[in-house]
Symmetry: C2
Subunit: 355 residues, 2 copies
DNA sequence: CTGAAAGCGCTAACAA
DNA sequence: TTGTTAGCGCTTTCAG
């Protein structure tokens, strides 16, 4: 028993000597190769040729680095350079498949370029989002991608002033000059509404979310208002706004009231997938049938819509491309701080199903 | 023109003096208050009392820090302390709602405790996962939470040897002593199978995923084998294994073949939600009806199952609690490196619907 | 071609 | 009760 115990202790002590416990630094390499730390750093950062260091020396350094299994300390590097090779991503809710799938893409492209991703959910709370931005900024991420829930873009403007690379997606700010990737929400909404209209629907209800300053939501709602205004046969806009909290708690009472108190409605347009789910619930509960009694089209396609019976028509955003472009835009800014901001508008796809 | 140019230059120079451009450091505070950097550091880290620094001095330091809007540089701190206040999370695929929802919880609890989260998807690829573990380790995250797709736990053992806090979830390793939070997959599977059996199903097909070393999948499959073996009325196990890639590509051919070539099957158990979706597709395609011709129960409840008609019965894991416990376990290890490993098994919930 | 030296901002022994 | 000093590991002038 004692022997065993001693053995353990000795092993532990011994480990100090030979194990890769104590991490190797450029100083170790320098000492072993017999050159200065500077040279090692230069070589390892592929600045050897630029500083005309002999190929022979370079090779020795590289070999020794591999032999010692040298791993650079990112903290030391970050402290020195101010860069972290980390990107920050803020979405409303990572468990929402819309954001989940975009996140997946962003993660993938970032990883390909050697960047890691810090993921945060703002919960549609501007205060929380501000805190997260601050946190990411404090942590010196090299850039931030955000589907912002802010109503006042000044916090983001501050980032830009600080030259922090920034890309918005899904939501932009009117009259603000940020890089952005998204879709034409007005046009997509108009197309869906037109379809409903062509199918003979005269009373189309529109259900959307607050906070209503969110550009994507606003554009969709405005497109609806415009659509209704342009057609004399529509009396009043049939509009319902839910807030994020009641939606999250699956409190659909107001949807129910809305549908019941507007019996003329023959079609519904919802401005996101969760709202559509709420509507489906309510419609079933009331005992109505889709699409016999009421038609439904939703923004943001999710798998569910495809499998429902009847399947639900929806407007699909090109999630993969949104993620890809967001990263591309951000990396461009990171690589060249003077890059002009760019706005990328991608095409949506109106998927017509049975609803 | 020239005047303007000069103005810019002057502004730039001036900015050095008063703008919050150049970040304030403890040195600035020290100088202003007239104490040493050490003292400032001590006070700001709430070690003032412990080092019997006068309350008066402490207050001065705190006030000045606030006045100067001091923000500690996490890189410098990390370099010095070796801690980053960052947690690493590795899942198979962040866009899968199962992981998305757990991630959401983990993020939230981590954030509450002042930790940020680095999220990575392994894509069920062990090589990729190893790389991610290495990356997180290099970045000196304070701890790692992982739903591991590895078949050889030695890479994880290495983390443990290095004293890196580690918590597994969803998947454990037989005979390995890691902290873990998950559910009793055997029991849950048995319960579902029993239900099917009680309802009179004699030929229950079981569809699962490879790689088959993944513990959760293995336990489910073994539970099925055992169940079949224990009942003489079952002739042969009706088992199909898909691989992750064909599932991801929605290549359901083998499911189709399986169902067609086993016409006796009256019930199906799938070991995850994506497989269930595949089955639903195939069953519809073949022209069979759920549950008239074939019943279906799936592991891992998703919203879709609730809304499908018929709605699909499933085994729900307590996602929120899994996330919460995983973080709790990890933080315990971070706070006290000598913490014993702990395995937490949570209850599942068999949700019986129409399928 | 190479190296010395000066920090990035912070913390923690060790003095005083 | 406070301060000095010595780095953490790396990059980058600048001077040979």
């Amino acid at each position: 028993m004692n022997v065993k115990f001693n053995l353990l202790i000795n092993l532990k002590r011994f480990s100090f000597v030979f194990m890769p416990n104590k991490k190797v630094t450029i100083a170790d390499i320098a000492k072993e190769v017999g050159v200065s730390k500077t040279l090692v750093s230069l070589v390892l950062n592929h600045k050897g040729d630029a500083n005309s260091i002999s190929r022979d020396t370079q090779k020795k350094v590289f070999d020794k680095a591999r032999e010692l299994n040298y791993i650079p300390n990112p903290m030391a590097r970050s402290l020195r350079t101010g860069t972290t090779h980390t990107l920050g991503l803020i979405v409303a809710d990572i468990s929402n498949p819309f954001y989940g799938r975009i996140t997946r893409q962003i993660e993938q492209y970032a990883d390909n370029e050697g960047y890691s991703l810090m993921v945060c959910s703002s919960d549609e709370d501007p205060v929380r989002e501000s805190r997260l931005i601050q946190m990411l900024n404090d942590r010196q991420v090299d850039g931030i991608i955000v589907a912002s829930t802010l109503d006042d873009p000044s916090r983001l403007q501050k980032l830009k002033d600080q030259q922090i690379p920034l890309v918005l997606f899904d939501r932009y700010f009117d009259g603000q000059d940020f890089s952005y990737v998204g879709v034409d929400n007005s046009e997509a909404t108009r197309k869906a509404l037109s379809l409903l209209h062509r199918k003979g629907h005269k009373d189309i209800g529109f259900i959307t979310l607050t906070p209503s300053h969110i550009s994507s939501l606003k554009d969709r709602r405005n497109a609806y208002s415009k659509f209704v205004r342009e057609r004399s046969e529509y009396s009043n806009p049939l509009l319902l706004e839910l807030n994020y909290k009641e939606l999250k708690e699956k409190n659909y009472n107001r949807i129910k009231d809305f549908i019941i108190s507007n019996p003329d409605i023959t079609a519904l347009f919802t401005s996101n997938n969760s709202l559509a789910i709420g509507c489906i619930n309510v419609i079933r509960e009331i005992g109505l049938q889709i699409p016999k009694d009421i038609s439904l089209i939703s923004f943001d396609d999710i798998e569910l819509f495809h499998y429902l019976s009847p399947s639900i028509s929806s407007i699909a955003q090109p999630l993969e491309e949104i993620g890809e472009q967001a990263v591309a835009l951000l990396l461009e800014q990171i690589k060249n701080k003077n890059t002009e901001t760019k706005q990328i508008i991608l095409d949506t796809n109106l998927i017509i199903r049975e609803s």
